[in-house]
């Protein structure tokens, strides 16, 4: 067991500082506000605030980001329920039953149910992750040699492209684009400069932060600007209907849906490449299938709201499993968190818990504490966050853009990064217009160099033979799984003669 009693005491002591708690609180409030404003997503907020977290102590900065993240997901359910516009992608499934409930005058009940299920799902997930790490889960990474690592990454690449929203082909194209972008810079094996076109700023490749902020934040702003006429008319939010209360009995009745969705969420979180949106919809579908009143789904079933919200939050805890064990991010926000961890010197892998155990366990505990705070803030502050959903785009755009610019600049004090952000912003805008999902791009961008390195190392070990990937059990299983998935997706696309399925979702 990695976590000893002494260590646990140390962890508890380091968390119970006013700065840490304040950081979580601030993060939560920012996240809730951002999530409540349609047009600002939690991915956007987290990537914007990432550079700021570099200057903070890891035990303050990372819980802050996590607070923003969680606040964002929960905040996103508010406009989803009130004005059928999900504040973030993960709330898309919440609209299905949340909005009908609001129309029946039960908006307050729906929002509170969403919050309660989110908290339950999240807490269970965080505790399970905490226990897994405490019992030495990261030691699994010791079993992975270069071929196994390659096979795992190859599997991730296959999964990511498929299970994101929209057409499979476009998911793969997104992945390919990410790989192409990752080619710029020094190659991981011999550090020779590739595709830098003589520009010395590109020697280490495209900087992740401008890329992320450009594609996820700036591009989102551009999309909102397109709809300038629509969004400048402010949505009316009736705050009087927010008073409908939620009884303990109602929660108990949904407990099976919540528990089931939490389990689904935890499993999905542990698999890199999937994310909250997938989990929310799968949980919703599963709850509908196993419910005693499936006909109510879509017409205002509290169970539906509970399932969707528990599902999307239960991803948060276990998503740290592949992140901290292998350094493989599961979705865009975890990719941001990966950046935060690395910047703080806590490089993922087996040694992480041995060297920085206090920090990591502290962060996990902070996640649980976040939920406690969330309960009080969200339950009693709902009406204020609902008001926030009506903030006008005219004020938001300039401020958000300035924050984006500052965030990019803060990384390297280099104006070139701001230019990159603008270019990636335009790039991200085109991605959205062409319905190309952006998450696979980010993940392949981050993992591409590692893929190449493990390929080179494995081939070096085997003297050039590709058979090495099929010799050891772990890599064999993973490679077979990847081929199965790739084969199935090709077959599926051909069968459908288009491949334009998957989840048709709003932008993340």
């Amino acid at each position: 067991m990695i976590l000893s009693m002494d260590m646990l005491m140390e962890v508890l002591q380091s968390i119970m500082h006013i700065e840490v708690l304040l950081a979580i609180l601030t993060g939560l409030i920012i996240g809730l506000i951002v999530g409540a404003i349609p047009g600002l997503t939690s991915v956007m907020a987290v990537s914007l605030l990432l550079p700021f977290s570099f200057y903070l102590d890891p035990l303050i900065g990372i819980p802050f980001l996590i607070g923003v993240y969680k606040g964002g997901i929960t905040g996103g359910s508010i406009p989803a329920i009130l004005i059928s516009t999900p504040g973030t992608g993960a709330a898309a499934a919440t609209v299905l039953d949340g909005y009908p409930l609001a129309k029946q005058g039960k908006a307050g009940k729906a929002i509170k149910m969403g919050i309660v299920s989110s908290i339950i799902g999240d807490t269970i997930s965080s505790l399970v992750t905490f226990l897994l790490f405490a019992f030495g889960f990261t030691r699994i990474a010791l079993l992975f040699g270069s071929p196994d690592m390659f096979a795992l990454l190859f599997l991730c690449f296959s999964l990511i492209a498929i299970l994101s929203e929209g057409s499979k082909i476009k998911g793969f194209i997104s992945g390919a684009l990410g790989m192409m972008l990752a080619l710029v810079g020094q190659d991981p094996v011999m550090a020779s400069r590739r595709f830098i076109f003589g520009n010395v700023n590109l020697t280490s490749g495209f900087e992740v932060v401008p890329l992320m902020i450009g594609i996820f934040a700036v591009a989102e702003v551009f999309v909102q600007l397109e709809k300038f006429n629509e969004t400048s008319k402010q949505a009316k939010v009736d705050t009087s209907k927010l008073d409908s209360s939620l009884s303990f009995r109602e929660v108990k009745r949904c407990s099976r849906a919540i528990g089931q969705s939490s389990f689904i969420g935890m499993c999905i979180g542990a698999i890199p490449g999937l994310g909250q949106i997938v989990s929310a919809f799968l949980s919703y579908a599963a709850a509908k299938r196993t419910s005693k009143h499936p006909e109510m789904f879509g017409k205002g079933s509290l169970e539906g709201v509970a399932a969707a919200e528990a599902g999307n939050n239960a991803v948060n805890g276990t998503t740290l499993l592949p992140l901290l064990t292998f350094g493989i991010p599961g979705d865009t926000v975890t990719a941001v968190l990966l950046g935060a961890f690395i910047a703080q010197g806590s490089s993922p892998g087996v040694r992480l818990l041995e060297e920085n155990g206090v920090v990591v366990f502290g962060i996990l505990l902070a996640m649980v504490i976040t939920n406690v705070f969330m309960y009080f803030i969200a339950m009693y502050g709902t009406r204020y966050f609902a008001k926030v959903a009506t903030v006008s785009i005219k004020v938001l755009v300039p401020i958000v853009l300035i924050l984006c610019i500052l965030g990019c600049y803060a990384v390297n004090n280099n104006v070139f990064d701001i230019l990159m952000m603008c270019i990636f912003g335009v790039f991200g805008y085109f991605l959205k217009k062409l319905s190309i999902p952006a998450a696979p791009l980010l993940i392949t961008f981050l993992l591409s160099k590692r893929l190449e390195l493990s390929l080179a190392q494995s081939l070096q070990l085997s003297g050039g033979s590709f058979l090495i990937f099929f010799q050891k059990p772990i890599s064999l299983v993973l490679m077979l799984l990847s081929f199965l998935i790739l084969g199935w997706s090709i077959y599926d696309s051909i069968k459908k003669k288009g491949g334009k399925e998957g989840f048709k979702l709003p932008t993340e």
């Binding site: 082909i169 194209i173 390919a176 551009f222 397109e226 755009v397």
Partner: protein, 167 residues
Amino acid sequence: MLTKERVYDLILSAFLIIVSIVCYYLVPYQVPQRRNYGSIPFTPDLFPRIVMVITVILAVFLVSSTLSQYLKTKSTESAAGAEEELESDIRLDKLLLVILILFAYVFCIDAIGYLITTLMFLAVLMYVLENRNYIALISTSIITTALTFYVFRYLMMVPLPPGIWTI
């Protein structure tokens, strides 16, 4: 039938094919050739070539799927229904203006400095977004610039481009 989306997809595929082929042939010029890594023929140009080939294959897939969709629905869908997109509501002019202002910001900031550039940026942007309450416009610009400057310069110790005037 040939919807807007399908046309976009075809353009995308064409673009991808062109880009990957161009990059494939750029590889020998952009990637310095070194000795092999160890004893195996794994050179820095291998992976880029693989990526370009994969991209071309995917682009071809996209073309074929788009065309097959088109052919399948050629006779069934009527032209009228699918064109209902309210094009008039999309404000491309505002978007383009904002993008231009953003790029202008990047080019000005080193020369003029953070404080003045940001002030102008915020004011101009708000004006472009049809904010006619000039008091709010100017005060928000000043407050935001001052606040961000303070946070960055004094709290986070990040020096911002000085330009011609700074505190």
